[in-house]
């Protein structure tokens, strides 16, 4: 069996297997189980883009304690994180690094645009060094208005994101 036919055979075999896996996880309890496990382990990336990080820190504090939702405070490595919270204004200089951080995160990854500046450029919408729409860099799941939004508002956004994950397709 020559090299090409071996690769074709393995390719076809893998294709068939992935269909089986998708049909199995696509319906019923397994999909719910996978989504439930994703919902309860949202580890945020430790990158602060601007001044909303003060309120992100306040949310990580003892009063709201997001570890009840499975959000570990400092996750360190990017591979382990699956939630990128864009905290505040994204300048052009930071946008370059933010894009790299987003690409390094493992799928499935979710993005919350926290604060006006991440949603639409907010107070500094007419500045020369700002990226106004963050959704041009990567798809954003939840927008949180407020400058800065209250820690409870951010936690309500995370509860909203969990709703979205629960109803999501496993291999979206």
């Amino acid at each position: 069996m020559s090299q090409e036919t071996l690769q074709d055979f393995i390719g076809a075999w893998i294709g068939k297997m992935s269909e089986i896996v998708q049909t199995v996880t696509g319906s019923g309890p397994i999909k719910y189980l996978i989504n439930w496990s994703r919902m309860y382990a949202l580890w945020p990336v430790h990158i602060t883009t601007a001044c909303c990080s003060a309120e992100f820190g306040a949310m990580m504090g003892p009063r709201l304690d997001p570890e009840r939702f499975g959000m570990q405070a400092v996750a360190g490595g990017l591979r382990q994180c699956d939630l990128l919270i864009v905290e505040g204004t994204v300048t052009k200089k930071m946008a370059k690094r933010l894009k790299i951080v987003y690409e390094q995160m493992a799928k499935p990854r979710y993005v919350i645009a926290m604060g006006d500046c991440a949603c639409s450029g907010g107070l500094f919408h007419d500045s020369y060094s700002i990226v106004n729409d963050v959704h041009k860099l990567f798809p954003v799941d939840v927008y949180v208005p407020g400058c800065p939004p209250r820690p409870e508002a951010l936690l309500s956004a995370i509860v909203k994101l969990r709703e979205k994950i629960r109803r999501e397709e496993v291999f979206a």
Binding site: P62, R63, L64, D65, R68, D116, C119, S120, G121, G122, L123, H125, H135, V140, D141, V142, Y143, V144, P145, G146, C147, P149, R150, E152, A153, L155, S156, A157, V159, K160, K164
Partner: protein, 153 residues
């Protein structure tokens, strides 16, 4: 070597937990909390001072197409807020000559889609839906706890 610090830490085991169970316990916010705006459409004259003073120019005066009549606002132009850009400084509420704008303790405005953050005048005039009935109480040696606000107040 660390007995002082460990004793300090162990003492805290017997204090009450500081965490507020957020979705089930929400703080009762003071009356003047700068949350979402509340528009009284019968007082607004459509003068546009709020749009002028807004630091981000996020208020736009839009005509309202409903059958109600507003004697004080013939062209029926009311402020429309784009909450993706509003910084909640509430200069508009302070500078409004007729007092048509007010504070509400609403802060849960997160949306999946950014266009839903464009609040039309009718949506702004809906009363607040926020139910917060807990307050933080400081006990000298027990730390801080959260108790429901007594209804009598």
């Amino acid at each position: 070597m660390f007995l002082g610090e460990m004793y300090e830490g162990i003492k805290h085991i017997f204090k009450r937990t500081f965490t507020m169970k957020y979705p089930y316990q929400k703080l009762l916010l003071p009356k003047g909390f700068r949350g979402r705006h509340l528009l009284y459409m019968d007082k607004c004259t459509g003068c546009g001072i709020c749009a002028w003073i807004c630091p981000e120019r996020c208020i736009s005066m839009v005509p309202v197409t409903n059958d109600k009549e507003y004697p004080q606002n013939p062209e029926k132009r009311f402020p429309q807020y784009w909450y993706a850009r509003c910084c909640f400084c509430h200069f508009c509420t302070d500078y409004c000559p007729t007092g048509a704008l007010d504070y509400t303790p609403d802060y849960e405005l997160a949306e999946y889609d950014r266009d839903l953050l464009l609040w039309s005048p009718e949506r702004l005039s809906r009363p607040t839906t926020h139910i917060g009935e807990y307050q933080s109480v400081i006990h000298d040696n027990q730390g801080v706890t959260y108790e429901p606000v007594p209804k009598t107040k």
